[in-house]
Amino acid sequence: MYRSIALAAVLVCAAGAAFAQGGKVTVVTSFSKDVTDPIKKAFEKAVPGSTLEVQNRNTNAGVKFLEETKANNQVDLFWASAPDAFEVLKGKKLLAPYKPKATGIPEKVGSYPINDKDGFYVGFAASGYGIMWNERYVKANKLPTPKEWQDLAQAPYFDHVSISAPSRSGTTHLTIETILQGEGWAKGWRTTKEISGNLRQVTDRSFGVPENVNSGQVGYGIVIDFFAFSSQGAGFPVKFVYPSVTTLVPANVGVVANAPNKAGAEAFIEFLLSTTGQETLLEPSIRRLPVRPEVYAKAPADYPNPFKDKKLQGLLTFNADLSEKRNQAVDVLFDQLITFQLEPLKAATKSLHELDAALAKKPNPQASALAKEARDLIAAMPITDTEAAAPEMHAAFTGGKQKTARQAELEQQWSAFAKEKYAAAKAKADEGLKLAR
């Protein structure tokens, strides 16, 4: 009698556990409906009895949400592109470690490790950065086709390029960081500012850039690959290229600390890494690069394959540690030197383009020297890379805990610095233009 009751209790518990395997899995994600819907469908089919509850928030809002609600957490998974967001969550102890059981996934994609070294988050797809453009726009304005970042700094591109602010978009932040790591601090900022002199706009949402390129409001956009691929998938007349200084970075998923349905969360990660899960990444509305090499056999022709394409393999090794250390400094520098000084920067750049054109017609060594001086003035930075990565700098941007410089003070210094340099650069360029004519 007692034994049968005990047995029944065990059975009930077992049934409960089996149910928990599926059940409701709540995920906070920055991925759009086009990405989550097909995956949700495939997951619910692969793990019967489970439902995936998707909460769509942009990456920053998602991090903020988990932070604000940690005392009574109701979320099982965090699922987003930017590895830095996961680093932030890890630092705030909002993630739980999990080691996936799936096998057959390489250590690295391109030259970036797929999984977090401490096991707090798992890469499930890769993406790289590049340039997308609207073919109709380019044709109507008789503009060239870019291949490298530096191309975007050339005169014909003036006022035709768009980027989202790195402080607003984890993906752009990584693009800038990639350029800085690939070319070094001084040269990298020089390239970034030279391109920025041609900017039409700095948008505040990552998706603002492909949106404007798709509708033909701007010609070129600096974007993560899947924005371009999924725009092509939707039928827009756009093209995309990976410049040689780029990096492939995994999009990630991690279990949230104190997840109400931990087993379900783990089941979802296993599903994402399974062959079925990886194949959904190839859908026209998703178009990410799977981390499971054999899945590329099913990909459409000319789909980039980071495990085969030579171009995507010799890429630079991304230093995530360095990126993390100077994360806020880079964002604030970009905002203060470029986003909020765009007009002076563009004015100086425009004068320089005119000077170059005049010099091409009639060389003049004195004017050339002035052009170089003007370029150096634009490229000047208020702080060095060592200063940017220093702990005091980090502390200045993390609110009330440490007694350091206030963020607002630094911002005012940097923007005043940029304003002065850009005005001086414009004066030099205009002076040169007088000589050259």
């Binding site: 759009s32 402080s167 505040d204 998706f207 603002g208 509708s215 609110g399 923007s415």
Partner: protein
Amino acid sequence: MALALSPSTIRSPGAALVALGIAAFLVLFLVVPVAAVVYVAFTEKGGGGFTLVNFLDFANTDLFVRSFWNSMYVSAMTVVGASVLALPLAYLTTRFEFRGSALVQTLGFLPLIMPPFVGAVAMQLLFGRNGTVNLLLDDWFGVKVGFMEGLNGVIFLQAIHYFPFILVNLSAALRNIDRSMEEAAQNLGSQGLRLFRRIALPLALPGYVAGASLVFVKVFDDVASPLLLNVKEMMAPQAYLRITSIGIDDPMGYVIAVVLIVIAVVTMWISARALKNRDYATTQRGGGGLARRKLSPRQSALAYVLVLFLLALVLAPHVGLLLLSFATIWSFSPLPDAYTLAHYARVLGDSSVYIGNTILYSGLAAAIDVVLGGAIAYLVLRTRLPARGALDWGAGAALAVPGVVLGIGYLRAFYGVKLPDGTPLAALWIMIVLALAIRRLPYALRAAYAALQQLSITLEEAAENLGATKSRTVRRIVVPLITGGLLAGFVTSFATAAVELSAVLMLVQNNSDAPLSYGLYVLMQTPAGRGPGAAMGVIAVIIVAACMALSQIAAGRAQRSREMEI
């Protein structure tokens, strides 16, 4: 015009109770959550003690000072632009025999219901640098006009977007003016513009000021339109950008939020001062005093041309939205490449849940707003309760609380509060309703305030002299007579709550509780989602417009049946 009369001096315990109830509501759902977020603005870095150094930083930062003046300029110019759009529409449709008045009023309200994101895309496709208008102009004349460039672009967009505030409030006020006022002036030889300038406009001033001050504060506080044009050097976008990204731990975002709130309160205070010590009430109400004037055929033709032109301008975004919802691909061309119904097919399944939620949330929020707004207006204008003004300022300040601040505040204040089964209080959909109600309360309040200001106190005194109790007077005299104003408030609150996104985005916990604006946001983050997003936007506009029309019809019926009784 009746002589200026002081408010009734009766102090009733009932009024005090109501006032306490409202105060408790505002403290709980506005002051506490906002304070939970903005106290950072007053804390010192490193020490955590009280300080004003952050405000000094604000004044010393070029960017913020520039943003402040940009915002001031844009808000003031938008009021001018919106007035130019609203005055003719309001005057013609309320004071004259004008066929299609109701239609014009309804259509004139639509710009306020511009769904987030898709509205922006539609505007770019029409007026942007390579939008329809500019592509055609470039083709024909070789010129392009920067409709959407810089601060002037923001003014253009904001004037179109927010002029309904003036239209609705001014129309309600104009309708309340006794026809005999105009007749008297006409008998004395006044006509045309002079009649409008000297009689109609001054008498309708409370409505105009209510609308204009709303426009000013809303433009000051608006994040969406400047950001859509990539204008970041304004106050509200600065606050938004900082709170949601780089300055997440920095006090400056919250300092700006405090500045926004102060500006809103000051604006409301100035607008109240401007109307103080004057009386706008006319006594003869409800009876035959509301006859309309006739237009001569020539005037009439002119009026129609003007009205059609204005409507074409302000409805252009919706036309763009409609085109976008049927377009296959629309890129760098005056019109879409081809048309399809597929986008509607795709969203139809999803949107029924969203639609239901939207109507439920916005309806409840607007109902709360009308009740609270009416009560606050009555307490302020008709009683002598101490500190009654605080209720008014408190509710008015809600206008300037950035949506994201309120959203974070709700999470911070209520997520830790658990229900018996462990779900956090902040996870309930009712919290979205409350956030919407707080966000939209000022609209209903302004409308109720204006309506009550136009109602002569002599009517209430007469009722009370005849032995009616205070509550009976309110029920039988005040409420019926300010129904028009309350309805205007309900419609404004409802329609704008239906497309609110910033606070909603913070508070939505799962898809089955999400309103339309959230569904739209989710769709609009992908290239393939643009068409379906536009389709959902069109559905949202239709639903909101239908609800407005229904409430207007219902109110009309109620009014007529009341007139029968009288």
